[in-house]
């Protein structure tokens, strides 16, 4: 006879999806872009990633220990943060700066607010912005992909975003000499953050996440869509300009991997749409009218802050809910 029966609330079966599984999917989705950055920037890309991941994992471990909370390394979210942070850094960044980035992301942004699911802004994005403000030169030391990022005299170049900022009113022809071709933009043979250059690899990873239903298509669709529409008008209908805007900078990385972060995006469908359109608008406005060439990180952070309000305003009505006015009408009828 059974001595110890488990008594718990229903349901007694669970899906086999786990937090760890989801994070593993995200890591898998990031692999193509990581491989491409290793091809373009050499082993340094891999070392930089290893440093940020180690820094994130170690920070999380120490933080949980000090705070006397249970160890959460098993959910792999610290690894994801580490990889995404590395993707947002130039391949030449001194390793100690990258390590600081990891500490900021995990300790300040994530654990101090309660750990996984509780942070109100994206950890990797915030760390990137703090690094940008703290080490402006090192954080803008873009090397052209294909040159060895280890060597001190690697060829540096402006990113396509910086070049595009000079193309007033979508006048691409004026800057076409210093712009890479669209094929190069897709493959990633241009300057930029380590993981953001190869759009095609990021899109592949993004589609993998969509296929695995880890992310919903709403945020990437409306984020990228808003930027496309905005740029179409800002560029006076120049499709080429739109394509450069979509493939350049951190848009693909941001739209597929960072804006879709569960903790910092709305859980409601309507909320996701508002959030994504907001991201797209802020990104475009910064790119066209701001003094910065790139606005993806700021747009995501700004919209992150609005998430609780967006969520409150977009909570769905329960099944079969009828508005009071309508109900009265029905009664009268």
């Amino acid at each position: 006879m059974a001595k110890r029966l488990t008594v718990s609330a229903s349901p007694h079966v669970r899906s086999n999806e786990t937090t760890t599984g989801i994070m593993l999917d995200v890591i898998l989705a990031l692999v193509p872009a990581l491989v491409m950055s290793a091809i373009y920037f050499g082993t340094r890309a891999l070392v930089l990633t290893a440093v940020t991941v180690a820094s994130c994992v170690l920070s999380e471990f120490v933080c949980r220990k000090v705070m006397k909370r249970d160890n959460t390394l098993g959910d792999l979210s610290a690894v994801v943060t580490g990889i995404i942070l590395a993707f947002n850094l130039p391949a030449t960044l001194p390793l100690w700066m990258a390590a600081i980035g990891g500490i900021i992301a995990i300790v300040v942004v994530k654990q101090m607010f309660g750990g996984i699911g509780q942070n109100f802004v994206n950890p990797a994005m915030t760390a990137r912005i703090i690094l940008m403000v703290s080490f402006p030169t090192a954080m803008a030391n873009w090397v052209v992909s294909g040159s060895d990022a280890w060597s001190a005299d690697a060829i540096t170049a402006a990113t396509p975003m910086a070049t595009l900022a000079g193309a007033q009113g979508g006048n691409i022809a004026a800057v076409s000499d210093s712009l890479p071709s669209i094929a190069e933009m897709l493959l990633g043979r241009h300057g930029g953050s380590m993981g953001e250059v190869c759009s095609i690899a990021l899109i592949c990873g993004g589609f993998y996440l969509l296929l695995r239903k880890v992310i919903s298509p709403i945020i990437p669709f409306f984020f990228i869509g808003t930027v496309a529409v905005f740029m179409f008008f800002a560029g006076g209908g120049n499709i080429e300009f739109v394509i450069y805007q979509l493939l350049g900078g951190g848009l693909m990385l941001g739209a597929f991997f960072m804006a879709t972060d569960y903790a910092t995006s709305p859980i409601t469908k309507k909320g996701k749409i508002i959030f994504a359109i907001g991201c797209g608008l802020i990104t475009s406005v910064i790119r066209i009218y701001g003094s910065l060439p790139e606005g993806v990180s700021f747009s995501i952070i700004l919209m992150n802050i609005l998430v609780p309000h967006i969520e409150n305003l977009t909570l769905s009505k329960p099944f079969g809910f009828v508005k009071e006015k309508k109900q009265k009408k029905e009664v009268e009828a």
């Binding site: 059974a2 718990s8 229903s10 349901p11 007694h12 086999n16 786990t18 409601t268 769905s316 329960p318």
Partner: protein, 448 residues
């Protein structure tokens, strides 16, 4: 509305959310066996939603099968009948599987299963007589809810009812008793449908079957066609098999496209939903007059030696049933009354089977039974799968701080506890438990 076969409907409107569960209908091809008469039965006086019954027998009385042993003058209540013949040995407190103690009658069997001589088929010609007869039969919703059927059928005159939906979805995994009823007793189901339709005056009857039961569909179709239903009011409908398709509100939506508002009943949108087995029982009762004294249950799960579908006298001890199914083949870690999605985990096998129980499942330790509980990552899966458009993650948050006002504002009471949210949660959070706590918080608040 697309029509594949004449007279066969497809769902008018699909509900949102829901989850894909593994069906595990292992016992689907096992005919219902009759269990030998147990030594004794315990008949609790509360086997339904509503007022408890008062015992009408005393210790030492001789009772026969179908003899009424408990009743109440309250309307929302179903009388209790003796399920075996023998002697009353105890009238007093009995413990139900869920730990609640209620009044109960214990009957020792004489092994004869003598039918009560007072049993005779009722004469039913109108709604009042039908409701009275159904009340006398002791019938409650056999699908699991246990709501007295006569209350459901006693539709107030001011409500305009046009549709009867026969629920044959059986969307809970493992359970196959409704499935077997459809295969073995299809004639009775159709008879029951005819009776309800003619007496209560439904304009249309929709028999709803999930698309993972083609065999049932074929049998029902053959019988429905043969009966040559002249005004073509009885229709079959296939539904996609997605949990919780069998839930009443989901059923009404799929069959008619109508939405039952929060806190309202299907009858408020012109529908009555009846379980198939309950429908077949009504037909049988009107023919024989034998009240509800036995029921079919599925006994299954990884710890059961010989999974079976069996017909047992109500009040049979769970341990006796498990012994009949070959006992446990390995040490059980969880025993469930009902299906794995909404069933109740019980703490022992010494408890009686009640009218609304449709399964006993016993499991060994399994990964999916205990998922590691982690922090909520706000992935929103619970929101996506909620068929009632609620926000389970918010309910959990407010439930932990017992904020009754906030809980009310997010409509916790609309939740039917189908368990889809907790099923889908990658962090293994016990969301249904928090939802029940939330409802408790609201009850306490309004009780103040």
């Amino acid at each position: 509305m697309s029509k594949k076969t004449p007279g066969v409907l497809t769902a008018v409107r699909l509900g949102r959310g829901g989850v894909k569960v593994t069906h595990n209908k292992n016992t689907a091809e096992m005919p219902i066996e009759r269990m030998p008469v147990p030594q004794r039965v315990i008949l609790p006086m509360q086997q339904h939603i509503g007022a408890p019954c008062t015992p009408t027998v005393k210790v030492g009385d001789t009772v026969a099968v179908g003899q009424k042993i408990g009743d109440s003058d309250k309307f929302i209540c179903a009388p209790i009948h003796s399920s075996i013949s023998g002697t009353v040995v105890a009238v007093g407190d009995v413990k139900l599987a869920n730990g609640i103690i209620v009044k109960g009658v214990t009957i020792e069997s004489d092994g004869e299963m003598r039918l009560y001589e007072g049993i005779k088929p009722p004469v039913v010609t109108n709604k009042a007589e039908l409701c009275a007869a159904v009340r006398e039969s002791g019938l409650v919703g056999l699908g699991g809810a246990g709501f007295p059927t006569h209350v459901k059928l006693n539709i107030p005159e001011d409500k305009d009812i046009d549709t009867l939906i026969i629920n044959a979805a059986e969307c809970e995994p493992y359970i196959t008793v409704d499935y077997r009823e459809c295969i073995e007793n299809a004639e009775n189901i159709l008879k029951g449908v005819e009776i309800l339709k003619n007496i209560l005056g439904f304009k249309q009857v929709i028999i709803a079957i999930e698309d993972n039961k083609p065999k049932v569909f074929k049998i029902m179709k053959e019988i429905a066609d043969r009966d040559n239903d002249k005004d073509d009011a009885i229709k079959l409908m296939t539904l996609r098999s997605r949990y919780p398709q069998g839930a009443e509100k989901m059923m009404v939506l799929s069959a008619t496209g109508r939405k039952v508002p929060p806190g309202k009943l299907p009858s408020d949108v012109g529908c009555v939903v009846m379980n198939v087995t309950s429908t077949a029982f009504i037909a049988r009762y009107l023919e024989t007059g034998k009240p509800l004294v036995s029921r079919s249950i599925t006994v299954d799960g990884s710890a059961i030696a010989e999974p079976k579908n069996i017909r047992v006298p109500i009040g049979t001890n769970i341990q006796d049933i498990i012994d009949f199914c070959g006992g446990f083949k390995s040490e059980p870690r969880k025993i469930i009354f009902g299906g794995p999605m909404m069933g109740l985990a019980i703490c022992g096998t010494e408890a009686p089977i009640c009218k609304q129980n449709n399964a006993i499942l016993a499991f060994e330790e399994r990964k999916d039974l205990i998922k590691k509980e982690r922090a909520c990552i706000r992935c929103g899966r619970c929101v996506d799968v909620c068929p009632m458009s609620l926000t389970p993650t918010l309910i959990e948050r407010y439930s932990r701080v017992k904020d009754a006002q906030k809980l009310k504002s997010i409509n916790v009471n609309t939740c039917m506890e189908c368990g889809s949210c907790a099923y889908a949660c990658p962090s293994g959070r016990p969301l249904v438990q928090y939802i029940r706590l939330a409802k408790q918080v609201i009850r306490e608040e309004s009780g103040k």
